[in-house]
Every structure is written in C-alpha cells, then in structure tokens.
Amino acid sequence: MNNPALHDRLDLYLVAGAFLLAVGIFGLIRRRTLIGMLISGELIFSAASLNLMAFNRFTVQDPTVGQIFVLFIMGLAAAEVAIALSIIIAVYRNYRSVNSRGLSELNG
C-alpha cells in the first residue's frame, strides 16, 4: 500500500514527541514554582518515552526492547517524583514558599 493509514506513519509520532519536548522545555523556562517545573519535567519524560516507543514499533527487530525501556522510564519517573515532592515539602517548611526565585541562600 503506497499511502499508509495515519496511525502507521512514523513521522507523526516523532512530531508529537518533538511537540511534547518543546512544550516541556518552554514550561521549564517559564514556570516560577518548583511544582510547575516538575510537571514540565514529566512532559519531557513523556516525550522521550513516546519517541522510544515509536522507534520500537517501526524500526526495531525485537518489539519488546522499547516497551521494557519505557517501563523502566516510568518507574524512574515515579521515583523521581517521590524524591522531588519530598524535597519540595521540605523547602516549603523552611521558606513558606515554593517560588524558585526565593531559594537563593546558596547564591554566591
């Protein structure tokens, strides 16, 4: 078949992944609270996972590799969220704020 269906085209998935990455980086620069930056980081993780899964589906011989890799990414993202949120709670106890501009005690 010369013209494949929409969900069988690799470039659409890659463009979607690029969109997620760009949105995540935009949010990472723009946000001024730690939780907002954490959410943008999750979007970047999702972009990486979507890219890996797209290449796994279309260009790789063993289709389990990408799925297992994305599963590990999800596990590490969950661990990262747990650590980051406990750090955010500790920061909030000390400063009464999660505004990233106020955390300048170590500023030289």
Binding site: A16, F19, V23, R30, L43, R57, I83, I89, A90, S97
Partner: protein, 177 residues
Amino acid sequence: MSSFPADKLIIDAIFLLSLVTMGVGALIAILSSRLIRSVCGLAICCIGLAGLYYFLHSPFLAMMEILIYVGAVCVTIVFAIMLAETDEPAREESRGTTILWGGTALAAAVAIFGGLTWLSTQSPWPSPTNLLNDGSIEAIGRALLTTYSLAFELISLALLVAVLGALAIARTGRTKP
C-alpha cells in the same frame, strides 16, 4: 476486506483524538496559572499518550501509563499542592524582563520543535526485515525475567531507596505537637 463501514475513518478519528488530547493536555499543563489545573492538564496529556501507545501496538504500556502517571504521579503531585501553596506567585520583576524571558523560552521551544520536525520528516528511517517476536505481554514477561532480570531487580532497589529517601527528607524539620 473490512466488515464494518467506514472503519478506516473511525480509526483515523480515534487516532487524531488521542493526538489532540495529548497536545491540549500539554498546553493546559504549562499555560494555566493555577497549579491544580496544570496537574489536570498533565493527567489529560497522559490519557492521550496512552491512546498513542495503544496505536503503537502496546496495550500493556497504555495500561501502565494510566496506572502510573494518572493514578500515582498526578495524585502525588496533588497531595504536594495541597500541602504547599497552590498558585503561581505574582510577577515582581518588570514587564520588559517578563517579555524577554517569555520570548527566549518561546524561541527555544519553536527552534527545538522545528528542528526535530524537519529531521524526523526528512530522514529515511529503515524498516526491519523480520520481527523476532510479536511484542505481546508474554514476550515482555519472558524478556524481563531473562535478558533484563538484573535491570528489573536494580529498578526495584532504586524505588526502595527513593521511598526511603523521600521519607527521610520529609521527616526532618517536623515539629512535635
């Protein structure tokens, strides 16, 4: 060849719905000024992403995406928002600085998106000649317990350390009643 009328159209529509859900969710996640709304945007984005995983022949990952991201990560972030303050603070810097930083962020995002889009549409990606297995849940389980068993054990260790570290960090500074 197809038993159901207009099934190609319906499949395309569901695929586009997943894409649009993901994009709109991501935009809500970064553009709304209240953090609770941006967490909801993240959840919507993950639901759309689960649909895309389903189209990529992986219903297992679609289920895991909803279970872990929507069910665990978003709920944890909601807890943190309830414990800390909820809103973006008012901008205290001048208007020119705000516009400068916004322009820089937008330029970086557009450059990344344009460059990656150009690369991914121009490159000739190879397609595999023969598949080694069907990528089903059975194949994933077999690979997890043979080839990737060490990584599987290590990630459980990483999760354990992360939970202990989170407890230890959040415990300090807590005053007794």
